[in-house]
Symmetry: C2
Subunit: 112 residues, 2 copies
Amino acid sequence: MDNLNIVNQETVEKVRESLPNEEILYDVAELFKVFGDSTRIKIICALFEAEMCVYDLAATLGMTQSAISHQLRILKNSKLVKFRRDGKQMYYSLDDDHVKQIFDAGYKHIIE
Amino acid sequence: MDNLNIVNQETVEKVRESLPNEEILYDVAELFKVFGDSTRIKIICALFEAEMCVYDLAATLGMTQSAISHQLRILKNSKLVKFRRDGKQMYYSLDDDHVKQIFDAGYKHIIE
DNA sequence: TTATCATATGAATAATTGTTCATATGAAAG
DNA sequence: CTTTCATATGAACAATTATTCATATGATAA
Protein backbone atom coordinates (compact mmCIF):
# COMPACT_ATOMS: atom_id res chain seq x y z
CA MET A 1 0.00 0.00 0.00
CA ASP A 2 2.09 2.95 -1.22
CA ASN A 3 1.01 6.57 -1.51
CA LEU A 4 1.45 7.04 -5.26
CA ASN A 5 -2.21 6.93 -6.09
CA ILE A 6 -3.61 8.93 -3.22
CA VAL A 7 -6.12 11.40 -4.56
CA ASN A 8 -6.41 13.89 -1.73
CA GLN A 9 -3.21 13.82 0.29
CA GLU A 10 -4.37 16.47 2.73
CA THR A 11 -7.57 14.65 3.53
CA VAL A 12 -5.71 11.40 4.06
CA GLU A 13 -3.30 13.06 6.45
CA LYS A 14 -6.01 14.88 8.35
CA VAL A 15 -8.03 11.71 8.75
CA ARG A 16 -5.01 9.67 9.77
CA GLU A 17 -4.36 12.12 12.58
CA SER A 18 -7.95 12.20 13.72
CA LEU A 19 -8.57 8.46 13.96
CA PRO A 20 -8.80 7.12 17.52
CA ASN A 21 -6.15 4.57 18.16
CA GLU A 22 -6.36 1.12 16.68
CA GLU A 23 -6.91 -0.68 19.94
CA ILE A 24 -9.81 1.49 21.05
CA LEU A 25 -11.52 1.11 17.69
CA TYR A 26 -11.05 -2.63 17.97
CA ASP A 27 -12.72 -2.61 21.37
CA VAL A 28 -15.57 -0.45 20.10
CA ALA A 29 -16.15 -2.89 17.27
CA GLU A 30 -16.06 -5.81 19.71
CA LEU A 31 -18.64 -4.08 21.86
CA PHE A 32 -21.01 -3.52 18.94
CA LYS A 33 -20.48 -7.12 17.88
CA VAL A 34 -22.05 -8.15 21.19
CA PHE A 35 -25.14 -6.10 20.34
CA GLY A 36 -25.12 -7.57 16.85
CA ASP A 37 -26.96 -10.79 17.55
CA SER A 38 -30.71 -11.26 17.85
CA THR A 39 -30.56 -13.50 20.86
CA ARG A 40 -28.32 -11.16 22.83
CA ILE A 41 -30.39 -8.12 21.84
CA LYS A 42 -33.49 -9.90 23.11
CA ILE A 43 -31.78 -10.78 26.37
CA ILE A 44 -30.70 -7.16 26.77
CA CYS A 45 -34.22 -5.94 26.04
CA ALA A 46 -35.71 -8.38 28.50
CA LEU A 47 -33.33 -7.17 31.19
CA PHE A 48 -34.46 -3.58 30.64
CA GLU A 49 -37.71 -4.66 32.27
CA ALA A 50 -36.55 -6.90 35.08
CA GLU A 51 -33.72 -8.97 36.39
CA MET A 52 -34.29 -12.56 35.34
CA CYS A 53 -32.97 -16.03 36.01
CA VAL A 54 -31.61 -18.14 33.20
CA TYR A 55 -34.53 -20.50 32.82
CA ASP A 56 -37.08 -17.68 32.70
CA LEU A 57 -35.04 -15.92 30.06
CA ALA A 58 -34.99 -19.14 28.06
CA ALA A 59 -38.74 -19.58 28.44
CA THR A 60 -39.42 -15.97 27.53
CA LEU A 61 -37.36 -16.13 24.37
CA GLY A 62 -38.34 -19.68 23.47
CA MET A 63 -34.79 -20.94 23.52
CA THR A 64 -32.84 -23.59 25.37
CA GLN A 65 -31.21 -22.96 28.70
CA SER A 66 -27.86 -23.80 27.21
CA ALA A 67 -28.10 -21.30 24.38
CA ILE A 68 -29.10 -18.55 26.79
CA SER A 69 -26.34 -19.44 29.20
CA HIS A 70 -23.72 -19.30 26.46
CA GLN A 71 -24.93 -15.88 25.40
CA LEU A 72 -25.06 -14.63 28.98
CA ARG A 73 -21.43 -15.55 29.30
CA ILE A 74 -20.59 -13.30 26.37
CA LEU A 75 -22.61 -10.47 27.91
CA LYS A 76 -20.84 -11.08 31.19
CA ASN A 77 -17.40 -11.00 29.57
CA SER A 78 -18.27 -7.65 28.00
CA LYS A 79 -19.36 -6.32 31.40
CA LEU A 80 -22.82 -5.61 30.09
CA VAL A 81 -24.63 -7.73 32.66
CA LYS A 82 -24.12 -8.57 36.28
CA PHE A 83 -25.65 -11.36 38.33
CA ARG A 84 -26.45 -12.51 41.82
CA ARG A 85 -27.47 -15.84 43.25
CA ASP A 86 -30.81 -16.34 44.95
CA GLY A 87 -31.42 -19.89 46.10
CA LYS A 88 -30.76 -22.12 43.13
CA GLN A 89 -31.22 -19.39 40.57
CA MET A 90 -28.76 -16.92 39.15
CA TYR A 91 -30.42 -13.58 38.49
CA TYR A 92 -29.01 -11.50 35.70
CA SER A 93 -29.42 -7.76 35.24
CA LEU A 94 -27.86 -4.99 33.22
CA ASP A 95 -24.60 -3.60 34.48
CA ASP A 96 -24.96 0.09 33.65
CA ASP A 97 -26.90 2.76 31.76
CA HIS A 98 -24.59 2.66 28.78
CA VAL A 99 -26.34 -0.47 27.65
CA LYS A 100 -29.65 1.34 27.39
CA GLN A 101 -28.04 4.33 25.71
CA ILE A 102 -26.37 2.19 23.08
CA PHE A 103 -29.51 0.19 22.44
CA ASP A 104 -31.64 3.30 22.16
CA ALA A 105 -29.28 4.90 19.68
CA GLY A 106 -29.56 1.90 17.40
CA TYR A 107 -33.27 1.48 17.98
CA LYS A 108 -33.92 5.08 16.97
CA HIS A 109 -32.15 4.56 13.69
CA ILE A 110 -34.35 1.56 12.91
CA ILE A 111 -37.75 2.98 13.78
CA GLU A 112 -37.18 6.32 12.02
CA MET B 1 -40.22 -25.19 25.75
CA ASP B 2 -43.13 -25.50 28.17
CA ASN B 3 -43.96 -23.32 31.12
CA LEU B 4 -43.70 -25.92 33.85
CA ASN B 5 -40.40 -24.78 35.18
CA ILE B 6 -40.87 -21.04 34.97
CA VAL B 7 -39.70 -19.48 38.20
CA ASN B 8 -41.35 -16.07 38.10
CA GLN B 9 -44.45 -16.28 35.97
CA GLU B 10 -45.34 -12.62 36.42
CA THR B 11 -41.94 -11.42 35.34
CA VAL B 12 -41.99 -13.62 32.29
CA GLU B 13 -45.39 -12.28 31.27
CA LYS B 14 -44.46 -8.67 31.88
CA VAL B 15 -41.27 -9.03 29.87
CA ARG B 16 -43.03 -10.86 27.05
CA GLU B 17 -45.43 -7.94 26.71
CA SER B 18 -42.72 -5.33 26.83
CA LEU B 19 -40.41 -6.80 24.20
CA PRO B 20 -40.35 -4.87 20.90
CA ASN B 21 -41.47 -7.07 18.07
CA GLU B 22 -39.23 -9.75 16.71
CA GLU B 23 -38.59 -8.10 13.36
CA ILE B 24 -37.53 -4.78 14.83
CA LEU B 25 -35.15 -6.48 17.23
CA TYR B 26 -33.72 -8.43 14.31
CA ASP B 27 -33.12 -5.20 12.43
CA VAL B 28 -31.54 -3.58 15.45
CA ALA B 29 -29.17 -6.52 15.79
CA GLU B 30 -28.36 -6.33 12.08
CA LEU B 31 -27.56 -2.65 12.46
CA PHE B 32 -25.19 -3.25 15.37
CA LYS B 33 -23.59 -6.07 13.42
CA VAL B 34 -22.55 -3.50 10.84
CA PHE B 35 -20.79 -1.50 13.57
CA GLY B 36 -19.24 -4.70 14.88
CA ASP B 37 -16.27 -4.95 12.56
CA SER B 38 -12.97 -3.10 12.90
CA THR B 39 -12.70 -2.22 9.26
CA ARG B 40 -16.18 -0.76 9.07
CA ILE B 41 -15.74 1.13 12.33
CA LYS B 42 -12.56 2.65 10.94
CA ILE B 43 -14.30 3.64 7.73
CA ILE B 44 -17.10 5.23 9.75
CA CYS B 45 -14.58 7.11 11.90
CA ALA B 46 -12.71 8.31 8.86
CA LEU B 47 -15.91 9.63 7.34
CA PHE B 48 -16.62 11.64 10.50
CA GLU B 49 -13.74 13.85 9.38
CA ALA B 50 -14.27 14.09 5.64
CA GLU B 51 -15.92 12.54 2.66
CA MET B 52 -13.40 10.26 0.97
CA CYS B 53 -12.94 8.29 -2.19
CA VAL B 54 -12.41 4.55 -2.08
CA TYR B 55 -8.70 4.52 -2.80
CA ASP B 56 -7.94 7.17 -0.17
CA LEU B 57 -9.90 5.19 2.39
CA ALA B 58 -7.87 2.13 1.46
CA ALA B 59 -4.62 4.05 1.74
CA THR B 60 -5.63 5.60 5.05
CA LEU B 61 -6.54 2.27 6.60
CA GLY B 62 -3.74 0.29 4.95
CA MET B 63 -6.10 -2.09 3.22
CA THR B 64 -6.85 -3.13 -0.33
CA GLN B 65 -9.31 -1.27 -2.52
CA SER B 66 -11.36 -4.43 -2.85
CA ALA B 67 -11.73 -5.01 0.87
CA ILE B 68 -12.82 -1.40 1.39
CA SER B 69 -15.24 -1.55 -1.50
CA HIS B 70 -16.87 -4.68 -0.15
CA GLN B 71 -17.31 -3.06 3.26
CA LEU B 72 -18.64 0.15 1.73
CA ARG B 73 -21.30 -1.92 0.04
CA ILE B 74 -22.43 -3.24 3.41
CA LEU B 75 -22.48 0.30 4.82
CA LYS B 76 -24.44 1.40 1.76
CA ASN B 77 -27.00 -1.39 2.15
CA SER B 78 -27.55 -0.35 5.75
CA LYS B 79 -28.09 3.25 4.65
CA LEU B 80 -25.23 4.41 6.81
CA VAL B 81 -23.26 6.03 3.99
CA LYS B 82 -24.12 7.88 0.83
CA PHE B 83 -21.93 8.66 -2.15
CA ARG B 84 -21.49 10.90 -5.14
CA ARG B 85 -19.34 10.72 -8.22
CA ASP B 86 -16.67 13.33 -8.93
CA GLY B 87 -14.70 12.60 -12.07
CA LYS B 88 -13.46 9.07 -11.79
CA GLN B 89 -13.82 8.89 -8.03
CA MET B 90 -16.77 7.94 -5.91
CA TYR B 91 -16.87 10.02 -2.75
CA TYR B 92 -18.44 8.42 0.29
CA SER B 93 -19.85 10.23 3.30
CA LEU B 94 -22.07 9.45 6.27
CA ASP B 95 -25.78 9.41 5.63
CA ASP B 96 -27.10 10.89 8.87
CA ASP B 97 -26.37 11.90 12.47
CA HIS B 98 -27.54 8.61 13.89
CA VAL B 99 -24.26 7.10 12.84
CA LYS B 100 -22.34 9.48 15.06
CA GLN B 101 -24.79 9.02 17.92
CA ILE B 102 -24.52 5.26 17.79
CA PHE B 103 -20.73 5.36 17.55
CA ASP B 104 -20.45 7.83 20.42
CA ALA B 105 -22.64 5.70 22.66
CA GLY B 106 -20.37 2.71 22.15
CA TYR B 107 -17.19 4.77 22.32
CA LYS B 108 -18.22 6.22 25.67
CA HIS B 109 -18.69 2.78 27.12
CA ILE B 110 -15.19 1.79 26.06
CA ILE B 111 -13.26 4.82 27.26
CA GLU B 112 -14.98 5.02 30.65
C1' DT C 1 -23.31 -36.58 53.22
C1' DT C 2 -26.16 -37.36 49.40
C1' DA C 3 -29.51 -36.21 45.94
C1' DT C 4 -31.46 -32.70 43.32
C1' DC C 5 -31.73 -29.07 40.38
C1' DA C 6 -30.30 -24.60 38.04
C1' DT C 7 -26.66 -23.18 35.61
C1' DA C 8 -22.22 -23.58 33.16
C1' DT C 9 -19.28 -25.52 29.85
C1' DG C 10 -16.79 -28.45 26.19
C1' DA C 11 -16.99 -30.46 21.72
C1' DA C 12 -19.12 -30.75 17.38
C1' DT C 13 -21.63 -28.85 13.58
C1' DA C 14 -23.62 -25.61 10.46
C1' DA C 15 -23.84 -21.11 9.04
C1' DT C 16 -22.04 -16.59 8.44
C1' DT C 17 -18.57 -13.48 7.20
C1' DG C 18 -14.05 -10.77 5.93
C1' DT C 19 -10.42 -10.81 2.78
C1' DT C 20 -8.05 -11.98 -1.46
C1' DC C 21 -7.64 -12.66 -6.29
C1' DA C 22 -9.28 -12.15 -10.70
C1' DT C 23 -12.18 -9.81 -13.49
C1' DA C 24 -16.27 -6.89 -14.81
C1' DT C 25 -18.26 -2.31 -15.15
C1' DG C 26 -18.72 2.09 -16.63
C1' DA C 27 -17.44 7.01 -16.68
C1' DA C 28 -13.93 10.07 -18.44
C1' DA C 29 -10.10 11.41 -21.34
C1' DG C 30 -7.91 11.03 -25.60
C1' DC D 1 -14.91 5.00 -30.62
C1' DT D 2 -11.14 3.33 -27.75
C1' DT D 3 -8.31 3.31 -23.84
C1' DT D 4 -7.65 4.13 -19.17
C1' DC D 5 -8.50 3.98 -14.58
C1' DA D 6 -11.40 3.97 -10.18
C1' DT D 7 -14.61 1.20 -8.37
C1' DA D 8 -17.57 -2.92 -8.00
C1' DT D 9 -18.33 -7.69 -7.81
C1' DG D 10 -18.13 -12.98 -7.93
C1' DA D 11 -15.92 -17.07 -6.27
C1' DA D 12 -13.03 -19.25 -3.04
C1' DC D 13 -10.98 -19.78 1.40
C1' DA D 14 -10.15 -19.22 6.21
C1' DA D 15 -11.84 -17.78 10.37
C1' DT D 16 -15.43 -16.83 13.53
C1' DT D 17 -19.61 -17.91 15.78
C1' DA D 18 -24.46 -19.54 17.42
C1' DT D 19 -26.71 -23.53 18.67
C1' DT D 20 -27.17 -28.31 20.17
C1' DC D 21 -26.13 -32.25 22.87
C1' DA D 22 -24.02 -34.29 26.58
C1' DT D 23 -22.14 -33.65 30.79
C1' DA D 24 -19.83 -31.05 34.65
C1' DT D 25 -20.31 -27.92 38.51
C1' DG D 26 -21.73 -26.44 42.69
C1' DA D 27 -25.18 -24.64 45.85
C1' DT D 28 -29.27 -26.11 48.26
C1' DA D 29 -32.46 -29.23 50.47
C1' DA D 30 -33.10 -33.51 52.51
